[in-house]
């Protein structure tokens, strides 16, 4: 079995305006040491999916009956969604899975030193003594390239630069040696040069720590650099997934194609950009049939607006959920 296998994940929010479907019966797997990129626009449900892995979604969230998030732990496995209390979730939160966020400044508590937050986490998940935890934390800060780590250990997040904060966040996330790291747009809030440094650091650490990463971003360029496989999300569904080269070189789903076309091309800067027409629909008004049909340039009238396309293999390991892909290839189970 894979390190992580998500099946039929359905995430719903109870709101004043009714029940909102944020994630609609998706499934994916993550192998040990693999980097899976999760791509999509804002509102596509990628962050919600990631947070579900640790049950971090807000209180008004509930999950579909048949949803399961199975995690391999040692010899056994557990279903994250079956864990009821925060106490039971400790094995997952910060233990098996760590998460880093888009805003490194906002993810540190402003009035607690970085070191104190790192030690606190280590005291929960390891049997280290306080001084050993402090030593390990400073070591981790050094490992991610923070200079004067023992001084930074006693500083607050606001005293560090943006890139340094994200490095510290990564150091904190990795200090408990998680099996999976969720990176929720970890470089989006950083300058491009710093972004490259942080990405390089992450690639190094993947090698060194041998963990799996779920990398969430809307930036296909970043995905091309770090991910092994990619899953493209739109309005709560995975519309296409597969090895990153195949998906980016020969996208099968019209949405992936539109996404790639909307990127500026360095070799043809004078060409106008081709944005995807329209906006992502409100989750309160999810289109029936294929969720992308309202913006799809290739939509088949009558069919796409009523029937839900099933994911099919377009190449081995490369799947797409579109009627246009259906004819020549066999269906997946």
């Amino acid at each position: 079995m894979s390190l992580l296998s998500v099946e039929n994940l359905e995430v719903l929010f109870n709101t004043d305006d009714g029940v909102i479907t944020a994630v609609d019966k998706i499934g994916f797997e993550l192998e040990e040491g693999e980097v899976l990129g999760l791509v999509g626009e804002s509102g596509s449900g990628k962050s919600v999916t990631a947070k579900s892995l640790m049950q971090l979604n807000p209180l008004n969230t509930f999950y579909g009956k048949n949803s399961s998030i199975r995690l391999k732990l040692g010899v056994g496995e557990l279903d994250v969604l079956r864990l009821k209390s925060s106490k039971e979730l400790v094995v997952v939160r910060g233990g098996a899975i760590s998460m880093i966020f888009q805003e490194p400044m906002a993810s540190f508590a402003p009035a607690i030193t970085i070191g104190s937050q790192m030690v606190e986490q280590l005291m929960i998940h390891t049997s280290l003594s306080r001084s050993a935890a402090q030593e390990l934390s400073i070591e981790m800060l050094q490992r991610v390239g923070i200079s004067e780590a023992d001084k930074r250990f006693h500083q607050y997040a606001f005293e560090l630069s943006g890139g340094m904060r994200q490095r510290a966040m990564i150091a904190m996330a990795l200090s408990t040696k998680p099996k999976i790291l969720i990176a929720d747009e970890p470089t989006t809030a950083l300058d491009v040069t710093i972004q490259a440094q942080v990405l390089d650091l992450m690639k190094d650490l993947i090698q060194e720590f041998g963990m799996a990463i779920l990398f969430i971003t809307h930036d296909l360029g970043v995905i091309a650099q770090v991910a092994d496989r990619v899953a493209v999300m739109y309005l709560g569904r995975i519309v296409e997934s597969g090895p990153v080269k195949q998906v980016l070189h020969s996208p099968a789903h019209p949405y992936t194609r539109s996404l790639l076309n909307s990127l500026p091309k360095l070799d043809a800067l004078d060409e106008p950009l081709t944005p995807i027409p329209g906006d992502i629909p409100s989750p309160l008004e999810r289109p029936p049939g294929c969720v992308f049909h309202t913006r799809c340039p290739e939509a088949i009238a009558g069919k796409c607006s009523s029937e839900i396309p099933i994911s099919v293999n377009v190449e081995p390991g490369h799947q797409s959920a579109c009627f246009l892909n259906e004819s020549p290839v066999e269906k997946t189970a």
Partner: protein
């Protein structure tokens, strides 16, 4: 450390400057009231059947030093207040103000700070728990009581309690001491007697303050709880009380501490009215008396300076606590 001491010194100097300015304003306001102390006193004597001449007034003015220029009198008064803590004699009662107020200051400050303590001891835990609680009945009860506290004026609440206690217990709960202790020297028994009565004005004064502080704490907590650092802390496996107190609660308390000075101010403004209704013999009722009835500006001014000094002192303390608690504030202040 040296920077911190420097910061405390600067704050202390600023507090003293504030007090000087306030006392100058208070003195000027005392002066603005028509007639001076000599005229008022003589006029007061007049009503008691003495025949007064202009010469009498002028003699009295000279005796009180009222013939000297305004600024000289202002600085003399301020100097006496600041360097010797002497407020001089009351204008009408002709008594030494320090002597007149000595006990009453502590009664008033005791009740006000009691009310302040009560309100924060209740508001902080209840506010924090009601922000995170998912129990709608408890939440709505807290909200109802606190809105009632905000909406019901203290004087009305005091009147209702007076009416209630007089009708049902026969004896009114007014006054701060039982008869036998009224003029007795302070002792443990007198202190307990004071507490057995003072809880009521403390409750009345504290209720509105509690309601206000509760709303503040709740709103700040709700704001803080949705912040990313709280989610990030949860993602690291921190939960329960460790999460609540160390993360959102701790970070939402800064503005709450900041508001203590304002709350004390509000309690002081309500103190005289409550004192009047409950016939408490303390500073607040004297203030009303001096301002509204006897026109004793010397006494009123002294009380105003004491109240302001207390608020300035509390603000000075909360500023220091805030700097100790929040590294961002420290950074901003100390550079």
């Amino acid at each position: 450390m040296i920077k911190f001491l420097q910061f405390i010194m600067i704050r202390a100097v600023m507090s003293i400057v504030t007090l000087l300015i306030v006392s100058f304003i208070v003195f000027s306001m005392m002066e603005l009231v028509p007639g001076n102390c000599a005229e008022r006193y003589i006029a007061f004597k007049n009503t008691q059947g003495q025949n007064i001449t202009i010469e009498d007034i002028q003699a009295e003015e000279r005796r009180l030093g009222l013939d000297k220029p305004y600024l000289i009198r202002a600085f003399t008064w301020m100097g006496n207040v600041f360097f010797q803590g002497k407020f001089g004699d009351s204008c009408i009662l002709r008594l030494n103000i320090n002597h007149l107020l000595s006990d009453k200051i502590w009664l008033s400050l005791g009740m006000s700070i009691g009310a302040l303590l009560l309100s924060y001891l209740l508001a902080v835990p209840i506010g924090i728990y009601s922000a995170v609680s998912r129990n709608p009945i408890a939440n709505n009860t807290v909200r109802f009581i606190s809105y009632l506290g905000l909406a019901l004026p203290s004087f009305l609440f005091a009147l209702m309690i007076m009416l209630f206690t007089t009708v049902y217990f026969g004896e009114s709960m007014s006054g701060l001491f039982s008869k036998e202790y009224r003029d007795a020297a302070w002792s443990y028994a007198k202190f307990m007697d004071f507490l057995s009565r003072a809880w009521l004005p403390i409750l009345i004064l504290g209720w509105a303050a509690t309601a206000f502080a509760l709303q503040t704490v709740r709103a700040l907590m709700l704001d803080e709880i949705d912040k990313l650092y709280v989610t990030a802390a949860r993602a690291r496996g921190i939960f329960g009380r460790n999460l609540l107190w160390r993360y959102p609660a701790r970070h939402s308390l800064g503005p709450v501490i900041n508001s203590i000075g304002f709350d004390l101010n509000r309690i002081f403004s309500e103190l005289p009215v409550v004192a009047l209704i409950m016939t408490l013999t303390e500073m607040g009722s004297l203030l009303i008396d001096a301002l509204a009835f006897s026109n004793d500006q010397q006494l009123a001014g002294a009380i105003l300076v004491i109240l302001t000094a207390t608020i300035v002192l509390i603000n000075f303390i909360t500023d220091i606590i805030l700097a100790l608690m929040d590294p961002r504030v420290r950074q901003g202040l100390l550079g």
